[in-house]
Assembly symmetry: C2
Homo-oligomer: 395 residues x 2
């Protein structure tokens, strides 16, 4: 079966997380992604554990459906080869700190001379412009700047980091969106553009609701802990065994919920009859419900609430999440055969489009696995030339 | 200046957050988005506070650059009008619970008969297929299923909800990605497709790293609190006034950091000389650094670390984030003039593409503001017909 982005060709200079997540999405959707790595060590993430037979699982998780070539962009010959590749591609993506591509002489201005149709996308901490453009950034730093960390805490408690590289990943998604938008515009206007994604901009965009609330109230939104700030009961409750999340989002659900827990008296109880009442008397409400919910284990409550149509779910650890029947049904955990690591499991593609495949075509590449074939296929290099490049440490 | 997606037409049936975030992105990028609302109350989010002069700031934050028409899809006449609109559009987006569109007789199968080129996108809690397809879901519930909440906590502490509707927003982003991919494929294959986005799938995709680590170690990843799990020092530290986030991501930065805090002895200290040592002796390291960092306020440390090229930043509250000079420079807070609420501030567009505008064209619409003009323009309805539809509560 075809892939939806088949035919799009991406030159991928990205490393670690934000850029590679973007190009993984493009590759998963069917674009040809040629990842360019430094000849010695390749993507920094290859050196980050844990490992399976020496292969970084973090790297493998982000780089399936890509081909890898090595190329030393510090060398003149390396730059020359890169420039020769550019006219064969639709997209160049990089997540260097702003200024690096210019120092290499490979910035957008240069590349568009070689290929006016190229879409050049960069993803960086603060973007290509503004007072912090050249400031160093990590996911963690941007979490702090954006304010999102101030909302991840228990009331009165210390903020906590979100346990994934959220800022990087979200910036990668926006970059993919920018690239597809620019490719679409290219069909109309005939020329490529530069896509300039800032991790901080992306997080500000995600913070739209607390920011909107701040502008009207003048009060900094507070972390909600594990209870929704405006709706109740919507939160985490311990059961006899395991925690349950309950989301009673409207008055009809409140009625069903009271019936499900066999406490129809609560529905018309003066302290709890409207959502406003329930938020006002939240401590009392949580105490009453806490006592009830502790009388049965998670599984029993889930059955009861599912039957009553009340949104509920477990507070899964990773093992539970990946073995969930819905996750498996949706092809979100896939087996991939890696030449060195063997049979590995990787997350599937969440963009499901009828008529197109959502499988993983190729395992994560070994460093430089496709250098020879790419140089031959795109630039017509002969074996002898390639061997010389290898000897000269250009590839 | 043009917008990058100018010419794309979207019929938007979405409400609340996941769908509206998707169509906001499409609208911000220049697509024509016609939001269809129920004649009585419209998008549920319109009724959610806080309000400015009766207008919901949460709603306004997500619905600029859209036109609003009212249409009662429960009525035969309403369905008929909707079906007449479909051939004029490129995209239909909805975030109903699976089954709702079928019950209305407006599912993909029906719409593609009317317009084989239509791209139909749905975003739901668990997707259109699988054992939970019809189960009720909220952002909070999916946070629990996906395992992400289990990673948002201080070590040993209770998990906390992420303080924004992250799951909804991320699903909205993946939906936009799916729509643009399907539109691109349409240019090649000539026909539309159905995009089926599940919030849970999207979160599993974001969890790729903890999932990959679980598969190799067999141990559930633990919440990192406010310290990076594998790199040190990378975490939050209190200063004399305010907290600072420091991200010493490699050995070169560790050297610069030791120099910046005037403790070059730490660089070669046997307990701290490599990242592995620093992670092993993290408590000791944090104690030593904690004492040093408490001697100056945040601003002074920021200057010192910025000078030394060491990634650092504040732990901003919302007010600090939106007033940050970088955020302002990047056009991420924009003034919009709303007919009722007056001058309001909204978050900007993080997808910056050269040659195209990143401004907000139109304020969030009043309910049904564009019903007359859309019915006239697309379907040639006469004023009298429109008045009858109004009288019959179809619009």
């Amino acid at each position: 079966m075809e892939k939806v982005l088949e035919g799009i060709r991406v030159l991928d200079l990205t490393r670690v997380l934000a850029g590679p997540f973007c190009t993984m999405m493009l590759g998963d959707l069917g674009a040809l992604v040629i990842k360019i790595e430094t000849p010695d060590k390749g993507d920094d993430f290859r050196a980050t554990g844990p490992f399976i037979k020496g292969e970084s699982v973090g790297f493998m998780s982000l780089n399936r459906n890509k081909k890898s070539i090595t190329l030393n962009l510090q060398s003149e010959k390396g730059k020359e080869i890169f420039k020769k590749l550019v006219p064969h591609f639709d997209v160049v993506v990089e997540n260097f700190r702003p200024g690096v591509m210019k120092k290499l002489g490979l910035e957008y201005k240069v590349l568009k001379e070689l290929n006016p149709r190229i879409v050049y996308a960069s993803v960086s901490g603060f973007g290509q412009t503004g007072p912090y453009a050249f400031k160093a950034a990590y996911d963690f730093i941007i979490s702090g700047y954006s304010g999102i960390m101030s909302l991840c805490a228990h009331p009165g408690g210390e903020p906590t980091r979100i346990g994934i590289g959220l800022v990087d990943i979200v910036a990668g998604l926006f970059t993919a969106l920018g690239i597809l938008s620019a490719l679409r515009a290219r069909e109309i206007y005939g020329q490529g553009q530069m896509v300039d994604i800032s991790m901080l901009d992306c997080m500000i965009s995600l913070m739209e609701n607390p920011i909107a609330r701040y502008f009207v109230t003048g009060v900094n939104p507070q972390p909600p802990g594990n209870q929704h700030p405006f709706m109740a009961p919507m939160g985490v409750f311990p059961t006899q065994a395991g925690c349950i999340i309950i989301a009673v989002g409207n008055q009809t659900l409140w009625e069903s919920f009271c019936r499900a827990i066999d406490r129809e008296d609560l529905f018309s109880h003066p302290s709890f009859s409207t959502n406003t009442d329930r938020i006002k008397n939240l401590t009392e409400l949580r105490a009453v419900l806490g006592e009830i919910l502790r009388t049965k284990p998670l599984g029993e409550w889930m059955e009861i609430f599912d039957r009553g149509g009340i949104p509920c779910g477990p507070l899964n650890t990773v093992d539970k999440a990946i073995n969930d029947p819905q996750v498996r049904h949706r092809n979100m955990i896939l087996d991939v055969n890696h030449p060195v690591a063997g049979q590995i499991k990787l997350c599937g593609l969440p963009v499901k489009i009828s008529g197109f495949s959502d499988t993983i075509g190729a395992p994560p590449p070994m460093i430089g696995e496709h250098t020879y074939s790419v140089l031959r296929e795109f630039l017509g290099f002969k074996d002898q030339e390639i061997q010389k490049l290898k000897a000269d440490q250009i590839i």
